[in-house]
Symmetry: none
Subunit: 419 residues, 2 copies
């Protein structure tokens, strides 16, 4: 099993409140090709600290991946630290300099000395082009160890990894075939963590080669399966068996697997059924529309979204009856259904999805507390509604409400009766 260490470089990553996220993506991609991340290190921009971290990492991992510190500014010092630790001079990479020049010229900017330093790479390093930024990455192998240096901008990394990097790592991944670790994420919504735990409890007998972890958050409870085995085939067989067992236990609370999201699952179902949807939101403020349109090609199924904060807007834009608003209040099942029907009718879509609720922190009453949310879904024949009382802060309530709304849509699209 090839093992890796990720070093995230940047003083800002050591500050309070700044989470390092590149390594989450990288760990996932590396695992897909059989490389397990065993250490992650975060280090600031001090050259000595970076050199120290590189030396330690090269001593304990087959593959070291650094992120950050490759840009044109003075605090971008990774390439120098790598040169020092590996004993390789920095040399100018002509093609990269040309790419940087073209990129800047297209934006009517000139190539400064600082910009040009981004074309410096350690001698004999393999340069990894950056299709969406100026600083390229580079790859060095040395004494059966490999060092991969990437820029720190997440959107650049997510382009570079599938396009140029995974194939480079195949020799290391090949080693991994000797022992296999497989991971699988199964995502549930609608059960508490303790409920999922109770349902899975006696699956523990699956043996020491299987680990079952739970991770609870605003979007539900994820079940994390890890299987270790000598051979990939036996690991796959065990994983399949345990996944089937987990699926049996959690039933239709399971909404996605692996890196799938609720957004993606709902989008796929809408497309495959050829249905269109319009959305009316109050407390979620556009989050449901945003999630439904986060998937490429969403214009195939998404038509219109309405974010309606005031009663007047609900009446005016979606024809919610004023009398209903006065009788039941804006936060009610009846208004949610009228909003769903209004959105559908206004846009001429097959479906209308609506949310109205109180995200807080203020605005709650004894009868209608903060966290009370009504969801409704309308098709051509009828509308149904659901109520939830979510806990958490404003952002958490909004996220949970959007997830519950999409889950309602998912269940409908699965052909399950949603009474």
């Amino acid at each position: 099993m090839g093992c890796a260490e990720i070093i995230a470089i940047g003083s800002e990553l050591l500050l309070a409140g700044v989470a390092e996220t590149n390594s989450l993506y990288l760990a996932d991609e590396l695992l897909k090709i059989g490389i397990e991340v065993r250490y992650k290190t975060v280090v600031g921009d001090q050259p000595k600290d970076i050199e120290g971290a590189l030396r330690v990492a090269l001593g304990r991992a087959h593959l070291v991946v650094t992120t950050g510190g490759l840009g044109p500014t003075r605090d971008d010092v990774t390439r120098k630290a790598v040169a020092r630790v590996t004993g390789r001079r920095l040399v100018l990479h002509d093609e990269t300099l040309q790419a940087i020049t073209e990129r800047l010229t297209a934006r009517n900017r000139s190539v400064t000395a600082e910009q040009a330093t981004q074309a410096l790479v350690p001698m004999r390093a393999q340069v990894i082009p950056n299709p969406v930024g100026t600083a390229p990455g580079f790859f060095i192998t040395r004494n059966e160890r490999a060092l991969l240096c990437l820029p720190g901008v997440p959107s650049e990394i997510t382009r570079m990894v599938p396009e140029g990097i995974l194939s480079l790592l195949e020799p290391i991944a090949g080693e991994a075939a000797r022992g296999a670790v497989l991971h699988r994420r199964l995502r549930t919504f609608g059960l508490m963590e303790s409920e999922v735990d109770a349902r899975l409890k006696d699956l523990d007998v699956a043996g020491p080669s299987v680990e079952i972890g739970l991770q609870a958050g605003d979007l539900g409870v994820d079940v994390l399966l890890t299987v270790r085995a000598r051979h990939a085939e036996s690991a796959e067989a065990v994983l399949k068996r345990i996944e089937r067992a987990v699926r049996d236990r959690v039933g239709d609370h399971l909404y996605a697997a692996g890196s799938q999201s609720m957004d993606g699952v709902v989008a796929m179902k809408l497309r495959s059924k050829g249905l269109t949807v319009a959305v009316a939101e109050s407390c979620t403020g556009g989050l449901i529309s945003q999630r439904l349109t986060s998937v490429p090609g969403s214009s195939a199924y998404f038509d219109c979204g309405f974010v309606l904060y005031t009663n007047r807007a609900k009446v005016d834009v979606l024809n919610v009856p004023d009398s209903l608003l006065r009788a039941k209040g804006a936060v009610s099942g009846e208004v949610a259904m009228a909003m769903a029907e209004g959105a559908r009718a206004r846009s001429g879509t097959d479906l209308g999805l609506a949310v109205t609720g109180i995200a807080g922190p203020s605005g709650g009453t004894k009868e209608k507390p903060v966290g009370l949310v009504y969801l409704a879904l309308a098709d051509k024949r009828r509308a149904v509604c659901r109520s939830h009382l979510f806990s958490g802060d404003r952002e958490g309530i909004r996220r949970r409400a959007s997830q519950a709304a999409l889950d309602l849509l998912r269940r409908y699209l699965s052909g399950k009766p949603i009474e």
Copy 2:
């Protein structure tokens, strides 16, 4: 200045999609008493890996703080690793065993052997009570190095640190009291990282006590200031001076400071001017509405949001002239202005903000490539528009476009001419 390393222990923290958050809290608390975190390491539950990480950390930091791996389950192996690395036997701590017994008895559970192991601590370690969980923490000093081991549950850490830990660290902090470290984040939008760097270049003369870091992302470039000084007062004076200098250089590209966000700044300005806004979006899919309503009390200034994907919806809901759509295309400055005016007129708000563009990955043409975005802002008198060509993936383009739209609104609200 005492420096620290945080080691987060737990295999789940190495899995894809699991962010480690305890260290964000700890870095903040440590900094408050003058201890700077210089390294963070994440390591799994393998004893050898934990021992390796402990040895490296004790070699490069004055204070090492571990989180996780102190519980009763088989994968909780921190205390054994600490015993091995420090050469101290584990001994039973009577008071802790008693506390565990009382805690479990109160819950009608019996004390198992696994539960009892939580009362084992390295010899001569100082035990740190855990008021909200079973596993206590412990503290060891050795050769002028200190090692603090804490459980991994965030809610336990946030109780233990203020109640029992900060005072323990005073000897180390005492060293630090001889020096103070202050941080400040200044957030800019509209300049490339290299441009910010060029503007700040000669501020380096501020001396070795000042560090200026840059962090670039979809939402702009943040300038991170770190000032080290012998006394807190002088650090504050230096920070004030350098902040003023940075503000001078970046001008009105600076939109926020500290933990403020663009959403919060725009919300504050709308409230203080008593203005209301309606939003019309296509490619951002609801993100602008969502950001404007993420701030509590947003109903004071936010009225309506429209997410309009189809031409028909733009015509039908916002009265964008069909002829204009046919002549200029949906992605054009003219349509953006018509959408902004339409949103304002439809909702009766003071302002209308609109975005239309191509978020990709497909849908681009030679004339109108992926990343092309038009923004428009309308008030009662007129509408203005801007065009941008954003790079990045779909999500990155959406985030940049939403930030640019809010920045346009911010500049308008600052009373700057936006020609």
